[in-house]
């Protein structure tokens, strides 16, 4: 694993699962037997602060806590290579070069140019999602469903909202007609965000 290879060089892999509860992420965490910090963002605090709209999203942060590379699509394996064209071995080489030699770190200007900053509608969507999640946990399921739907209308390409709310609402996020519809709609718009850059 990349982490084991590089950990003595002042490098850490930190994963954040954007899931409704720890149990959703647990099988994945346990299957991967992580030796790295493996965190869970049930409240979407991290997703909001970092502007996460889909997964997987990778972010490079340097020793001073500055972005060395902002949000980007990255896979650790080639499972989705056919679909995305993403070459994980080449990507992992760029991570190694950054960790070992500092190569590939962007300047703040370059980071800004690559960042997607949120719109008013997207931030309102996050507030609607926060309200929905609170109501759902309180047992007000019908009211919650209305606000999940409103959040999805406001930010139609945010999968942390639209796909992330499916398991909460008892909808299968992989095979349901609702997911298929979301996937087709998003594909028709050119798969926003999800365009591997390397």
């Amino acid at each position: 694993m990349l982490y084991d290879e590089l950990k003595d060089g002042g490098f850490l892999v930190v994963t954040v699962a954007i899931d409704k509860c720890a149990d959703d992420a647990r099988p994945w965490i346990e299957a991967a037997a992580p030796t790295h910090p493996s965190l869970i963002d049930t409240e979407h605090r991290f997703a909001d602060l970092y502007g996460i709209v889909n997964v997987p999203t990778a972010i490079w942060i340097d020793e001073q806590g500055r972005f060395a590379r902002p949000n980007h699509v990255a896979f650790g394996n080639d499972i989705f290579k056919e679909l995305t064209g993403f070459d994980s071995a080449a990507y992992l080489d760029t991570v190694r070069a950054w960790v070992r030699e500092g190569r590939g770190a962007l300047t703040t200007e370059q980071v800004r140019a690559q960042q997607m900053r949120p719109s008013d509608a997207e931030q309102l969507a996050r507030a609607e999602f926060g309200l929905a999640w609170h109501l759902h946990q309180r047992g007000e399921v019908a009211a919650a469903a209305r606000h999940f739907a409103r959040a999805g209308e406001l930010s139609p390409d945010d999968f942390t909202i639209r796909r992330g709310s499916m398991p909460i609402l008892g909808i299968d996020p992989m095979t349901s007609p609702e997911f298929l519809e979301l996937y087709q709609e998003w594909t028709a718009r050119g798969r926003p965000y999800y365009r591997p850059r390397s």
């Binding site: 990349l2 002042g10 490098f11 850490l12 892999v13 994963t15 954040v16 699962a17 899931d19 959703d24 992420a25 647990r26 994945w28 910090p37 493996s38 965190l39 869970i40 409240e43 605090r45 991290f46 909001d48 602060l49 970092y50 502007g51 997964v55 997987p56 999203t57 990778a58 972010i59 490079w60 942060i61 340097d62 001073q64 806590g65 500055r66 972005f67 990255a74 950054w98 703040t108 949120p118 931030q123 309102l124 996050r126 507030a127 926060g130 309200l131 609170h134 109501l135 309180r138 007000e140 009211a143 209305r146 606000h147 409103r150 959040a151 942390t160 796909r163 992330g164 398991p167 996020p173």
Partner: protein, 135 residues
């Protein structure tokens, strides 16, 4: 009657008057839930005061209007008056400025055993942060 205000994830139970979609908070409730206070110079929190141009929209006989307050602060408000709950989020401007500063925001998240970890605690190392999900 009781009303729940969630300020970027932090929930407070306060007293509020709800009339249709209008939610009005008494001064004490506003201070308790959101930390803001209405003063002659404007709406204040800590040392910061926001001038109130349209005082009539904000201040009513039964309290401070929550929707007008959110508009004044430029923050998104998700409101369900019937469920007596509202969520006040962070503005696009605030989030955008934070990201554009180049500094990774700090946030504390639990691991699978419930132990909290602050991202700022990883300073001094290069961090490859990976967001994923089971969905």
């Amino acid at each position: 009657m009781r009303f729940t205000v969630i300020d970027e994830g932090r929930a407070s139970e306060i007293e509020a008057c709800v009339d249709g979609d209008a939610v009005r908070l008494a001064d004490a409730a506003l201070r308790e839930a959101l930390g803001w206070e209405l003063k002659p110079e404007g709406l204040c929190k800590g040392g910061l005061c926001v001038p109130v141009r349209d005082r009539a929209a904000l201040v009513h006989g039964d309290g401070i209007d929550l929707t007008a307050l959110a508009a004044l602060l430029g923050r998104p408000l998700a409101l369900d008056a019937a469920a007596r709950t509202a969520y006040l989020g962070a503005s696009a401007g605030e989030r955008g400025a934070q990201l554009a500063s180049g500094l990774a925001p700090d946030v504390t998240l639990p691991d699978r055993d419930g132990r909290p970890h602050a991202l700022a605690g990883f300073r001094g190392k290069k961090v490859l942060l990976i967001a994923y999900a089971s969905w």
